[in-house]
Every structure is written in structure tokens, then in C-alpha cells.
Point group: D2
Chain length 461, copies 4
């Protein structure tokens, strides 16, 4: 494709930006980028300046004819964009700290995309994505939106169903990691893409099956390798994902499942162990956000080095590795109609029969120039099906609350979320979180004012 | 209908039998019963003899030409039966005590039809119902099976889907109680059946909507009356159901739901309060089975009185009130094609679109001579839909484990049950319960032997 | 119910009006009608005056305190109405003559509700019903709309799905007739409602099953009686419906079906015989509309008699007998919450799983004060399922064409209609019919002008 | 893949065999064939010998180390086979002549895979494919069955659903031809596979959509090119498929459809023109089978030439061109896990939401070593949906009749088939065809004997 592209990255001040730059530079033969706009908000100005300068150095070192712009003016950036990627975090890491710590005070899991924290991240992010879409309708009506802001599944569902922006693809690095692990466990080189893998479910709540090149299904063999405590492989294994504790599943349960779970299933399949571990971190002030804050500070120190013009090794430890690279690959595949096989969040349209036709699912797809074409999946066995259906129902409830600011709907979402033990104390947690995040929840303004009038307070611990 | 009937009651030694007798006597104009067979097992012989004698006295007092037989020989009883009702309890109340107390040791809810206890009740009961069906195929191939043995939904699903006995109807007294309460709250006489009510969901997990005679829906009005803590009615209200604590729902959540929940929803909607209350009873040795044991002892003392020939007032306190009366009404409606409107467990066939076509649902139906004809329901709003789908998936998993004795499937059922916090300790609970109930779990024989060899023990507390 | 009602009948000048009057008079104990408004258009003024005067005489003779108004001002009539019934015919019988005769020129079936004629009746009627609904929104927002204007299924679907008037029930007399026939064939008195019948499908395209009071299904027995050419009953049988030739089905086909077809299935199951008979009538100028015109002329002569104050016997021959009576029964059942069992066109909502959730189906329902509550049906066996699905798809296409005036959609409807052999000549037929009906097809105005400019003409034969 | 393969071709005496040989020879780098078995029945012995010798010459000329076996012993051939392809024709071309000519006597379409002829081809073929599968279960339990015997959709559905042989893929050359035409119309080289095409529906009854490399959908553009009578391309176009007359669609109808139809849709979309043309051929004794008989005779004369060792040009005219080549490509893609994109008949599993989950559909798939992985399709717009659903229902009815020999089911299939005008005369046609094909319809033996006793005769014209 000959067209010179304008790409916009919202949340450009992220510590991940160097990976994104590297991804673009490595795909220079498939992506001829004329302008790359890194956009951020006032709160993130300093980070944007540091990492933006670093991005400019990387481009310079690459010798490419790409201009990198840094701006706080989103509308200027969006004008005539071809691709918009989103990696912003409403409320910065401080908001994440609240998501992870407030539930802990109530004896509940504090996590970025699961439980009460995940619900509040959706509450804060969905209005912003809808706002971005409003700008895009006006300024770049043909652009593709590649979302890797979490919770990516709900954000994509809101963008497509509520915002009506069909050209949205949601992205996650978990399937990339699983592919790596599967090839490694089978003794193959990941780059050869020997295994045929089919993922289906929701973002952070999907399963997959794997076939070998001779046509035999090797899912059970991989379950043995990964989850049988007796297997050599399992004994040598470490954490799959930096932000999830490497506690083993109940082998019999995963074996009965007959599919490979995703790392986040731990919160649902071994809920007690994960909760205990999470509450220990809470007590030790070692929640993920607190850890990441330190890592980030180190990274930004590195980025300040005016000599550094390549992605530093340390970034890989950050947890979201491969995210940005996957985003670059999607852009390249759309732009070139490369038909790369990737697992992304896209419209269901019957791919997973057990879920509503018009919802968003995360499924293995071929990425074409007209979007993601998923492989059909069909139905799930009952045990997976039921939990999946509940999660989607919960997501729908969260999105409705996020869009309308309806308090009853928020209570409902808390009630049915499987990681929040329901009860009247749930209301206390919900109320405290609403007040804590009030700067980023305009849709709940009235409710929050009423709560504050009733004396509800956020008490940092 | 002129035919003189043979009716068989399996679990005839139950303390509820007098209510059943009263139900039959009250419907003498619609049910001409030639023979009534009360069947029980050796363990229940004494109770059968006491309550059986009482049943004979009740018939005698009624002046009806009905012969009451007491027997331990199920096959003799089933020969040429027209209706078979089941009210047996495998392992008697002692098994229920285990179901309620063992989970408590693990900090989990101990309950007869929910959580780990409900799963084990299904494990013990399903093989027996399938055994009864095998006898029925041979001895009374045209008989109707009216099941009110719990968990009635799963038992009915096993009877119809696994046993292939289409002429099964499962029964619960909860909808009867709800109808009473709704009429009372609206100021109507329940017997006038003024309100039009439509229930749908699963046994012990359904919702309903209510319309007044002028066509207006009064569901929200009833939600206000029952669940708004400010309402006069709510303030005066007591426990809906004897075996469920009268802790109030979160008003905002039920209001958002827009449907009336069933009493058992408390375990899911205010999980923490219900668990706390349950664990307190556990500590105090006041679990429901322990309480019932005392009540039953009293009842049987009463039944021994050779002068007593009517249902004593005390039976009403027993919790299962109306169950037996509802069973009599179903029999009368089938026999006379009365087309009575009742809420029963029957084949879904699309009544609830959100659930598998071939599963069993509890829905408002017209009871005809050819069975239950349910009113169409359609879909549920997301929050109810998701939990309902998970519960059905859990039921399917439990039934499969109950039928096959597959240990992995049992682990899976424990993992996805929303009242069992998943984790490796779940395995310990499952294992202890398997060993504790070993006399009534022939399908798990091999697994249990293995567990015992590994040192797993049931430790009564 | 104490409320004094205002009822409006659109198409009040119909020859059926006396049956409607009789229906109201017979239900005086359940319907206290204060005002009855008969509305018609200028074209029908004369008939309205004749039959309206007759209606007034009938009321007078009944001694009821009801006032009958005759008007051409629909809006005046609709003001504060409680029930609106529709029995109008856009373009009067002359339009029906065209529907029945133009297809004949192309060698195709000419029929009021099937084939090309049925499509055009929908094209003319749907815009008018949507117009009526607009008035109702303003003038009587709580009224029920009881439609018995054909094609009742499509008109009801347009009213509910396009017009958004949920309080619409579509009505047909075919199920009433079938119930009569079934009871007669079984030797029962129809008024005893002994048989339990369940109908499902679409208006003029449904099937039904029947159960006897002992619970046995007698569908096959009735198929034998009605359709086995050897059966005594079949030999004595006459036409089921006045406007459908009494040609027998292929017995083996109906037997394989295992359900009772509706009379209109003849057009689909024995297409060739029905077409031959229809074309013969076409040649003889004895199409149904031509016959009815004569009958109507006779009826209106009778109605002119100032002494006649009761429904004359001759009306029964008219074909639509029971329609008006059924309409009165629905009104009475809604008003009194009588919960009468009737087969009506209402929202599917999953009642028939094989059809879209949001479409209109004709199904056996309980008529309550809040509308029709259908009995669940489930799925059909393949042979019925496939044709039913095609018919619904055709209906959806017709409705879209009727609402938008899209010519391509009209071509599509003609192409997939199973009674119109597709082909380029279909276009000629469509074009001639568009031109012929131009006075009643405002939505196709542009297309028709274009066709006329191209020389397309309607040539009466 | 290193394995040396054994491939078996049932119906090896077909005139297409040289194309198959060429396909294997051209893919020698991906398919190392040790043994190729050409199997036929006694009736086809002569043809097998001629074309088999020719096949051996082709292999010899290629220099490959492949041994070609000719046999009438199917079981010997199947022993340890890796792939089995089917291209047999039960009853040879003489049976096809009957399928095409008998309907003509009744004024109906005579065609190989549509209407009455298609139904009888299914009746004859399905029992044979089930027989082959029985042998395969015993002799080559891991082999893949590649069916290109027509009607390929129904044969595949019978093989998978009735025979239980999941490793079946049905094949058709129509999509290959459409891809060629689309690339040509867009000015692209077909081999570059620039366009992204998605087909869905049934064998000989599917539609497709096309996207260009820049992501824009070009379906409408192709509809203009192919079907707008004013387009340059349409004016220059010839028949798409040798056996289907090149009569143009109604442009407005195809335009409204918004998808590209398959050539066989002509029988349904312009039924009258196609019927007229077919009946003209009938009168002129130029039905397709009669024409093909002549072509075949010529081909076999050519094949006798002991010097000929390559596929002769003339074979391309035969109509089924690309079939065999597509079969070779599927085999190569399965064997090598090449993940080639092809449109094949495979299990639906929700790919087309409008059709039963467990049926067979023809859909664009990636061919992997574990079978076809279809791209999700979703739903169709109403007009296509309805006809598709009817066709599938008809197929299900035909398959049931073919498997059981149930006469009522055969009557039903004839009644609902959209190309057979239903009616009592349909029975006469059905009866004559049953008698005409009696040698190849063992399942209908009893029925046929009864018909013959009643005097039914096949009268060749």
C-alpha cells in the first residue's frame, strides 16, 4: 500500500510508547508513517514530554521519514488520522491504586480489570472513549480505532455498540503470550506458527484449543504439561503474566474443562488462593499499581537519557509487553490486507453461539483490510458456558451503568460480579469508590453529591 | 373422570404425609383413589409405620373408599400405578445434617439445596430417581411422576433427560407462597386469584412478574411493598419461608431488577449476610436440619396418638407447607384436565429463550391431562439472565457428575457453583463430603475408596 | 369492570357490522358500551349510512344504553377511545377484484391474502394502519387496537414493530372454525371446549395439534377423519371456509406432517389444483371478489329494510363469519381479564423458536387484561419449519416494501413469494398492479409515475 | 509431510479422472502418493479400464513413484487408505437421463441436483455413501472422505450426521469459478487472490460477498458488472457454468439482495425462464445428460489413444471442471496443514446462525490438517434467509426419506421443494420415478412393489 499514514496514539505519554515505536520501526516495509501524533492530557504532560522526546530519538535513529508530534490537543491530532490507538489510563496510576486498595479494605480482591476495580476502570474509561469517538466522527470518519486501553473488552463493546464505531478492534497481549508458551511446551519455534490455535470468550476470560500440524488436537497434552503438578514442564514453569500470581489451578478442574484457560481465570477457578495472595499484597502495600509506580519511575529515569534511542530491556518486565507490538501488527495487517491470524475483541455475530449476537467477543480472527474476520467457534461445554454468559451479562450491566450513570445498575453490577461477594456491605464499597473517583465520573455526579451529603468519604489507608 | 386411581408415594414415611392425605381427602370429588401406597426403605420403617397408621386413620375418618397400603417393597407398590409422587430423602435427615455442617467447617454455606449441600443432595438422589424410573418403565409405563424430592429442578431434569420419563413434573411450594404474599400485599383474597402472575427460571432460582385485573403491571409496586425498607408493608413483614433467614435484599438492586426474586435469591444477592447468619447457626448447632430433627421428633410423637386423625397444626411450621397440597392439585388437574395454572418444573422447549432448549425450567403453566403447558416467557434482562445461565450450567454439570460418578466433573461443579468460593481447599471439602456420604454414593465408589486410601476422613464436629 | 366504554370501529360501513353488533349485544353483561363509533371514508359513505342505521336499530331493539355514532371523521371518533377495531378495506371490493384478476392474466393465483394479491393488500393497508396509530398516539394513547383487516398477520406486525403500538392484537376466524370442526369430528359439543388445541404459525399459515380430555393426542385421529379419502368423515365433509375450494390435500403428506394444517395451506400443499381452480374462476368471472360483490349487494338490500333489527341469516354465508364475534370476545376478555383461550396474532418473543424473536406469530393464547399470553410452542418439524420461515421472511420483505415504497424490495417480495413463479414476467405483473392500484399506494408514487412514463398500463379484462 | 499416501477414488472410471491425475501430478511436491486406487462397479468396468490405463500413462509420463491400481473390489482398495474421494454416479448417466426427462413429462424442471431429479439423485446416492462409510470404519478408520459426488451438500450431511463420519468434506467447483469471475471483472489476476471473498449457504445455494484489498466492499460493484443489463461486462458475459443456461437475473432483485448469488439461484430467482428453457431442451432431447453422454463418448474415444498421457483440452468443456483440481488441493492442504482458503461443505456449528447448529453448510473455510475451519458468517437478510431455511428443511426431509425409505417423507419432500409445483400430480411423478429407479433404491423396495402392483409404470419417452 502506497499511502503515507497518519497515526494517533491517545495516551502517548505511556511508558509503553517505546515498544510501540519499535513496532512501527520494525514494520517500516509495511507501514509508511508520515505523521505519528502522541496525545495526552495535562496530568500526563511531563511523561509525554519525556517519552515523546525518546520516541523522536528512536525515529531519528531509524532513519525513517516519520514526523513525531507531541500534543495535549486531541482534536488537532485526530484530524484526518488513518489509525487511532488508545493506551490511556483515566486518572493515571493513582486511580489504579484506588481500584486495587479500596476493595482490600472490605476483604475483597483489588485488581485492575476484575472485580470492583475492573468495574470502576470501565466507569472511568467508557465516557472518554465515547468522547473520542464523537471527535473521530467529525475529524477522521474513516479511521480505525485500535483499543488497548483496559478493560479492552468492555471498552470495545461500548465503542461499537454505544458509540457506533464499527471500525474498532480491541487488543490484548494474553493470546500472544499463550501462543509463545504453547509452542515452547511443544518444542516448536514460536515464529514458525506451527500450532493452529483457536481462542474464544471475552477479553481476559477466554479459553483456547490447540492442534498440531499433523491434525491431532494437543489441548489435553498442553493441559498435562502446564497444569498437572507432576509434569516436568509444570515444575519448571514460572508466572505466565507479570501481574498475576503463579498459583496453580486445580488440575482435575482444568482437565475436565478440556480447554486451556487464560491466566485471569485464576481469579475465578482458584478464587480463595488468589484472594488471599491479593490481600497479603494489600497489607504489604505491594499491590500491582504500587509496584508498577516504582517500575515506571525507573523507566522514565531511563527515558530521560538523551542518548537512549532504542527500547530498553527493562520495559519488558512491565507486564503489558507485546501489547504495543500486537497493535502495530494489527495496523500493518489492516493496511496491507495481510490476513494475519490474531486473537482480538470484535463483534460476535454468532461466532460464539452462547453469547448475544451483537456483543463483543475475543476470538481468533484473520485481520483483513476490512477488519477482523473471526473463525467460527460454536458453543462451549456447560461449565465454561455458564461462567462466560454471566461475565458477559455483568459486562453489559457495567456498560449500561457507565453510560447512564444509573446507580441501581451500578449496584446490580456489583451484586452479580462473581468476585464481589454480594451483600449490603457491597453498597458501602461501591459508595466509597464512587466518592474516591469523583473527578473522573461525571456521569455519576448527582449520585456522588448525594452520597457525600450523607457523609460517605474515601479514606485512603 | 371415572377411573379409580392407584397412587404411590415414595418416601411415604415422611412427616409431610398427613398434608398429602388431607390434600387427597379435600379433592375427593375430583380424585377417586382406590389404593394409596406409602413406600419407604428399611431405614424409614419406623416412621412409615407411625405416619402410615395415622394416614389410615385420616382416610377412615373421611369415610372414603380408599385403601392405604404401607410397604418397603417399591416394586409391588408401583405395579399399575397411575401416579407416583416422590418425597423421599436419601440418607434421611442425618445426611442433611452432613450437607449443612461439613461446609461450615470450611467457612462455607451449608444448605439443603444450594452450595455444596445441594450438590450432594443431587448426587444422592439422582441415581435413586433413575432407579425408580427403571421400575416404572416395567411396572407402570403410563404413570405420571410428580417429584417433590429436592433439588426438584435437577431431579426433574435427570428424570426427563437422562431417564427419558417425559411424564414427570417437578414441584415446589415457593410459587404458592409468593401468590399468597402478592395477594395479601395488594389487599386481595388469595383464593380469588385476581392477580396474573408469571414465574420463570429454575427451581429455587426464579423470578416473577405480576399484573392486576385492570391490566397494569404491579411488579414494581410489590417490590416497593416488600423490599423498600421505608414501606409500611416491609416493616411488618416476617420471613417468607421457614428455612430462609428474613434478611432484607439490597433495595436498589431488586428495584433495578424489575422482577420479584424468589426467597432463595438471598443466597446470591446478599451472599455475605446469609453466609454470616448460616455460620452463626453452624456454631450454635442450630442448622436447619438440626432444628427440623427436633420438630420431626415432636410431630412423630403427635402422630403416634391413636386418636389423631387429622393434619395437626404443628405440621405447618415444618417449612415445606403447601408442597403436598400442590402435589394433590397437580394430580387432580392432570386427572380431570382442569387446566389449573401452576408454576412447575417442566421441559423448557424454548419457554425461556436464554436457556438450552432441552433443559428443565420452573415456569407458570396450565396443567392439562397431557401435562404442563407453559406460558411463553422469552428473555431475561442481562443481570438475571447471566446468573440464571450459570445456575443451569452448574445444574447440568452436577447431573453429569451424579450420573457418571466422574470426579473431575464433581470438581468442576464445585468450582463453578457461585456459593462455593473456588480454590484448592474446595477439593478438601468435596473429598470429605464424598467420604461422609459414601453409603449413598455408589456411583463414586472407586473415587471414595481411593480417597480413603489417601487418608481422607469425615470428621463430625 | 364498571367502566363504560367507548369503542370505535374503523371500516364501520362493512357488511359484517351487524355481526359485530350482535357480538356486543350478546356480551352486554361483560361490556357496558357507552358509545360505539362506526367510522368510514367518503367512498364508503353510502354503505356506512345503511348498515349504521341498521346497527342503531339493533341497539334500540336490545334496550341497551349504548349510543351508535356514524362518522367520516376518524379523529373525532378516536378521541378517548378504549378499543379500536379495524375492518376496513382500502380501495373497497374494487381493489380486491384487481388483486384477484390481474394475476390471472399472468397465469398466476389471484387471491386476497396470498400471492400477488395478498402482497398488494398489504401495500395498501399498512400505510393506513400506521396513520391510524399516529392518530391514536395523540387521541387515545391507552386504547387497544383489535385488527381484523387482512392480511391480519402483516398488518399486526407493521402496527407493533413499525408503528410501535404494542397494544395490538390481530384476529382471524380460521382457528374458531377449526375448533368447531375438531369438536364435531370427535363427537363433542364445541361449547364444552373439551379438546385442548394448540395453534402456532402465522396468520393463514398455521398448524395445530389437539389433545383429548384423557390426555391422549388426537391429532392423527383428526387427520384420518379429515384427510384420509377413505374416512367416512372426509367423504361427508364440505368446504371448511367459504372462500377456499374444498379440494383435498394429499393424504400422505398431511399424515407425514403430523399436525393439522389450516385451510390456506391448500395453496401451498396442492398448489397446482388450487391454481387450476382459481384460473377457471378467473375465466368464468367468478373470482371471490366478484361473488362477494353480489352477496354484499343482497345484504345491503336487506339492511335497508327499516324493520330489520337483528343479524340476518344470510350474513353467515359471507365467509368471514365469526370474525366479528371473535373480536367482541377479545374485547370482553381484555376488559374483564377473563383469560379466555383464543388464537391470535401477537408478539413472538420466542413462542415459536424457529422464527425471529421480535416478529408477529399467530398462536394460542390466554387473553388477559394486559394482552395475549401465548402458550409456548417450541420448534416445528423440518418440513413445516422451512415453509414457515420462508413465509415470515416474505412477510418481512413485504412490510419493508410497504413502509418504504422501495421498488427493489417489492421485486424481491414477488421473487420469493412461493405462489408467484419467479421470473422477469413477474416484473410485468408487479408493474401493472402498481399502476392499477396507484390511488392507494402513495408510498410508491415516484415509481408508479416512472412506470407510467414507460408506458405501463393497467388493462382491465 | 513425509508420509507416503494411499489415495482411493470411488467412481474411478469417471471421465474426470484425468483432471484428478493432473491435480495430483501438479502437487507432487506436497503429496507423495504411493498408491492410487481407482475403484468402480461392474457397470463401469469398461470405462474404468479405459480411463485407468490413461491414468497409468499420465503417472508414467510424470516420472513419479506412484502405483495406480484399478479394481472393482472396494474393500480391498479402502484398506489403510489415507484419503478417499468419491466421484461415483449411482446408475450411471442413464439414471441422470431419467432424472432430467421424467419431470419434463409433468411439465416440471428436470435437473441433476435441483427439483425432483436432485431428490432422486440423493435417494440413490445416500445409501451408497453410508455403505462406504461402514467399510471405512472397519478398513481405514482415520481416512478423510472428500466427497464430490452430487448432491454434495446432502451427501455430506448424510455422511456426517447419519454416518457419523466427521472427517468428511464436501466439495463443489462453483466457488472456484466465482473467484475466477470476480477477479476477472475487477481486472485482477485470479492467482494473486487479491479479493477477500466470503461464501455462505448450502451447496448450489449460497451467496457471497467480496472485499477489495483496500478494505472496501465491492459486492455491489460486481452486481452491477454482472447483472445490470446496461453494464459493458454483462453484455460481454457468457454462461458461468456449462450446465446452466445463461439467462440473466432480474437486476433489481439481485441488487436488492446485496450479495452475489450462485449460478443455481437462477432456478429459484427466474424460475419461469429456466423452466421454459429446460422444457424446450426436453422436447428437443437436448437435456444435459443427453448432451453429456455424447461428450463422454468422445472423451472415452480420446482416452483410448495409447499415446495420450496428459489431460486433453476437451475435458474442460465437460462442466465439472475444477472439481477434481479442488479435491486435490483439499487433500494437499489437509496433508500439509497449508491452511488454504476454500469454500466447502462442512458442519455448521453456528457459522450460519439462521440454520440448525448440526447441519451441513457450504462456507468459506481455512483447510487445516484437522479439517475445515469456517469463517463466521452470522445471519442473512430476510429474503435470502427464508429461502435458505426452506432449502435446508427440504434437504433434511430428503435425507430422512433417503435413509428410511419412508414414502410419506418422500411425498413431503416433493411437496415442499420449491421447484416442484405441489399437488396430487406430484404423487404420480414421484411414483413413476420410484419405479423408474427401482434398481438403485433398495430402501424403497416395499413401496415400489406396491406401486407396481397398482399398475404404476415408468414410461420412457
Amino acid at each position: 500500500m502506497n499511502k503515507r499514514l497518519k497515526i494517533v496514539t491517545i495516551g502517548g505519554g505511556s511508558s509503553y510508547t517505546p515498544e510501540l515505536m519499535e513496532g512501527f520501526i520494525n514494520r517500516a516495509d509495511r507501514l509508511d508513517i508520515k505523521e505519528l501524533w502522541l496525545v495526552d492530557v495535562e496530568e500526563g504532560r511531563e511523561k509525554l514530554e519525556i517519552v515523546g522526546a525518546m520516541a523522536q530519538r528512536m525515529i531519528e535513529a531509524s532513519g525513517l521519514d516519520t514526523k513525531v508530534f507531541l500534543t495535549l490537543d486531541r482534536r488537532e491530532a485526530l484530524k484526518d488520522a488513518d489509525f487511532v490507538t488508545t493506551q490511556f489510563r483515566v486518572g493515571q496510576l493513582s486511580a489504579r491504586v484506588k481500584d486495587e486498595r479500596i476493595p482490600g479494605k472490605y476483604g475483597l480482591l483489588g485488581q485492575e480489570t476484575n472485580g470492583a476495580g475492573g468495574i470502576f476502570k470501565a466507569f472511568r474509561t467508557i465516557p472518554v472513549i465515547l468522547d473520542i469517538i464523537k471527535d473521530m466522527e467529525e475529524l477522521c470518519p474513516n479511521a480505525w480505532l485500535i483499543d488497548f486501553t483496559n478493560p479492552a473488552g468492555m471498552v470495545t463493546e461500548a465503542a461499537i455498540k454505544v458509540g457506533g464505531w464499527k471500525r474498532t478492534i480491541g487488543l490484548c497481549n494474553i493470546p500472544v503470550g499463550a501462543t509463545k508458551a504453547n509452542h515452547e511446551a511443544m518444542g516448536y519455534d514460536e515464529n514458525d506458527q506451527i500450532l493452529f490455535e483457536k481462542f474464544a470468550g471475552l477479553n481476559h476470560f477466554h479459553w483456547h484449543r490447540v492442534w498440531d500440524r499433523d491434525g491431532s488436537e494437543v489441548t489435553d497434552q498442553l493441559i498435562e504439561a502446564f497444569y498437572n503438578p507432576e509434569s516436568e514442564y509444570a515444575k519448571s514453569k514460572k508466572a505466565e503474566v507479570a501481574n498475576i500470581a503463579a498459583i496453580n489451578y486445580t488440575y482435575e478442574q482444568v482437565k475436565d474443562l478440556g480447554m486451556l484457560p487464560c491466566p485471569y481465570h485464576r481469579y475465578y477457578y482458584i478464587e480463595r488462593e488468589m484472594l488471599d495472595e491479593n490481600l497479603q499484597n494489600f497489607k504489604d502495600h505491594k499491590t500491582r499499581a504500587e509496584t508498577v509506580k516504582a517500575t515506571e519511575a525507573e523507566l522514565f529515569e531511563l527515558y530521560k537519557d538523551p542518548e537512549l534511542n532504542y527500547k530498553p530491556e527493562q520495559l519488558t518486565k512491565r507486564g503489558g509487553a507485546h501489547y504495543s507490538d500486537a497493535a502495530c501488527e494489527i495496523i500493518a495487517s489492516i493496511h496491507n490486507d495481510s490476513r494475519t491470524v490474531m486473537t482480538v475483541s470484535t463483534q460476535n455475530n454468532g461466532t460464539v453461539v452462547d453469547l448475544p449476537y451483537d456483543c463483543i467477543v475475543e476470538v481468533t480472527s484473520v485481520i483483513t483490510s476490512h477488519g477482523a474476520e473471526p473463525f467460527n467457534w460454536g458453543t462451549f461445554p456447560p461449565a465454561a458456558r455458564g461462567q462466560l454468559q454471566l461475565m458477559k451479562a455483568m459486562e453489559e450491566t457495567v456498560i449500561e451503568a457507565a453510560v447512564t450513570g444509573d446507580y441501581g445498575k451500578a449496584v446490580q453490577a456489583f451484586t452479580i460480579n462473581p468476585l464481589i461477594q454480594s451483600g449490603n456491605y457491597t453498597i458501602d464499597l461501591l459508595n466509597e469508590m464512587l466518592v474516591a473517583h469523583k473527578d473522573h465520573l461525571p456521569q455519576f455526579k448527582e449520585t456522588i453529591e448525594k452520597l457525600e451529603a450523607q457523609g460517605v468519604k474515601y479514606i485512603a489507608d
